[in-house]
Symmetry: C2
Subunit: 320 residues, 2 copies
């Protein structure tokens, strides 16, 4: 069944998620018109150049006027401020959603500003890359990824169904769950891995006896994998940790306990414990691949420079 397009969708924020939504809405014809808002004039200009929106607005309230769907694509820490700013301009019957990686705090901050007759259905597409900004988006970002909706109790079922159909039309699978459960699930599948990646890059940067140049040259031993996610937007991530404090602290506590057990096994030479732990960890990869959530190609299929002739013209050594 074809998706009945929205008359007008407002994208508040045109970073990786906002610009990707624009691309997929254009490709799949999910919106007859797209309006946009970005704080910086540079982003607004760039968004117009790229055709990400039909109109770009300095004030978020102007962008949401007459929109049937309003998508907040901004760091979770500013969702409340934005909601307050657009509150009076929302069209009766409109759906307001967001894309933040934290849901309880967004509901806490946004819901008080949503007038009666407007449907606030929080959402979180679990998709992204390490790049940011209006140029980083692409139409296939959401394909086969999961989008989680966390409608507060009493939400309009029709609005949830409509938003579900929208994300499915973007290529996503959709799940519905409570905001608190979402926040705990994401603290282990996203927030903690990301924090660890930021942290090990910091640890490596602060060594006295191993130079930065050595860390970089020999990063193919594993370290380079962590630097990719550590290149993600600092503002977005700061807001996530400040707004999902309890779940992240608990997962971090569990991680540290488990780390201590491995540390002790190394110190005392307990090879069996190490082997058993590593063997157990190995199994989950295959299940992620079977679930369609990662590639089974060695090394993520990244050719690096060695198989990308453009990146290494004439086979020249990039480290002469």
């Amino acid at each position: 069944m074809a998706f009945e397009p929205f008359e007008k969708v407002a994208l508040i924020g045109l970073g990786l998620i906002g610009s990707s939504l624009s691309h997929v809405m254009r490709r799949e014809k999910l919106a007859k018109a797209i309006s946009g808002h970005a704080r910086s004039a540079a982003t607004r200009d760039r968004a117009m150049e790229l055709g990400l929106a039909d109109t770009m607005h300095e004030h978020a309230a102007d962008a949401v006027r007459d929109a049937d769907l309003v998508v907040l694509c901004v760091p979770v820490g500013v969702c409340g401020v934005v909601a307050q700013a657009i509150s009076g301009a929302l069209k009766p019957g409109a759906i307001v959603t967001d894309v933040g990686s934290v849901k309880a705090a967004v509901i806490r901050d946004v819901a008080p500003h949503i007038p009666d007759g407007i449907h606030f259905i929080p959402g979180h597409p679990i998709a992204g890359t390490e790049y940011s900004g209006p140029d980083s988006g692409f139409a296939s970002l959401f394909e086969n990824r999961w989008c989680i909706l966390t409608p507060p109790s009493g939400s309009d079922a029709g609005a949830t169904a409509r938003l579900t159909a929208f994300w499915q039309a973007c290529g996503s699978n959709v799940d519905v769950m409570g905001a608190d459960h979402h926040d705990r699930v994401l603290s282990i599948t996203s927030h903690l891995p990301q924090l660890i990646a930021f942290n090990i890059v910091t640890t490596a940067a602060d060594l006295e006896e191993v130079s930065q140049q050595e860390v970089i040259k020999y990063s193919a031993g594993g370290f380079r994998d962590f630097t990719r996610i550590a290149a993600s937007d600092p503002t977005m991530w700061r807001d996530i940790y400040l707004n999902n404090k309890q779940a992240v602290l608990e997962m971090l506590g569990r991680f540290s306990e488990d780390m201590s057990a491995l540390q002790r096994a190394i110190r005392w030479g307990d090879g069996d414990m190490l082997f058993d732990t590593f063997t157990r960890a190995r199994g989950i990869r295959q299940r992620i691949i079977e679930a369609g959530q990662d590639t089974d190609k060695p090394d993520f299929g990244r050719g690096g420079q060695q198989s990308d002739p453009e990146a290494l013209p004439d086979g020249k050594d990039p480290n002469p």
Copy 2:
């Protein structure tokens, strides 16, 4: 200058590294003959089927007879036993090397078994994927990666030069350093990241309230990156930690201190500290890309199933 091929190279172990060496030696004509040893009959048979060696031998000593170059491609924990087994069969003037991720312990275990007139030049190609076994190798594995040689003091300079030329002919860049420094550098660029990856997968597996299925479905938020390296060979990694204990424990101590500082910042809502840390971490990625040690494609360029038609025939949802 073309590489003067070895008359005969012996590969002791035909896993990812051994089989990749065979492929690149065949392609670049670096050896006139290749002999091999693997403990299991199944691996020996498979190696012959794949043409990885001209002869496969049940006993390592038989494989090394008449070989000009012997490459130990086995977990570091068994290098000493293998060295003892081949000691009496080594050809005078031969070069013996290894590919282990720990160097001081390998020298401790192997050097006593190397007779006079044989050149033991330890080595470590910093290259790999998450796959293991004779089928996992490919000729381009070492291209543009670094190989570190750690010749003990008093080593024959000609042997080191010859082994350097060999690795360069395999496509690698070569650095020479002391074994202790190697072990400290690798503890941060490889051993600690790997340990953290094993550990977070364990932590995620042990949660009571978040199901395994949820961890898998929503792994695109960052977790899936860690599962790739956690799928690596458990025996190989167990041996690395048992044999690079001091350096790993020290790096882990530093990591844990830094983690505690981030934990405290989250608990007390210190957004500036988080933002500054994340911003600092972001910078190193670009330098790794510039150094040719990783791809700049978003998400490592992995299409996942969404851009791989074979993996997702007819655009079907793999999670029905």
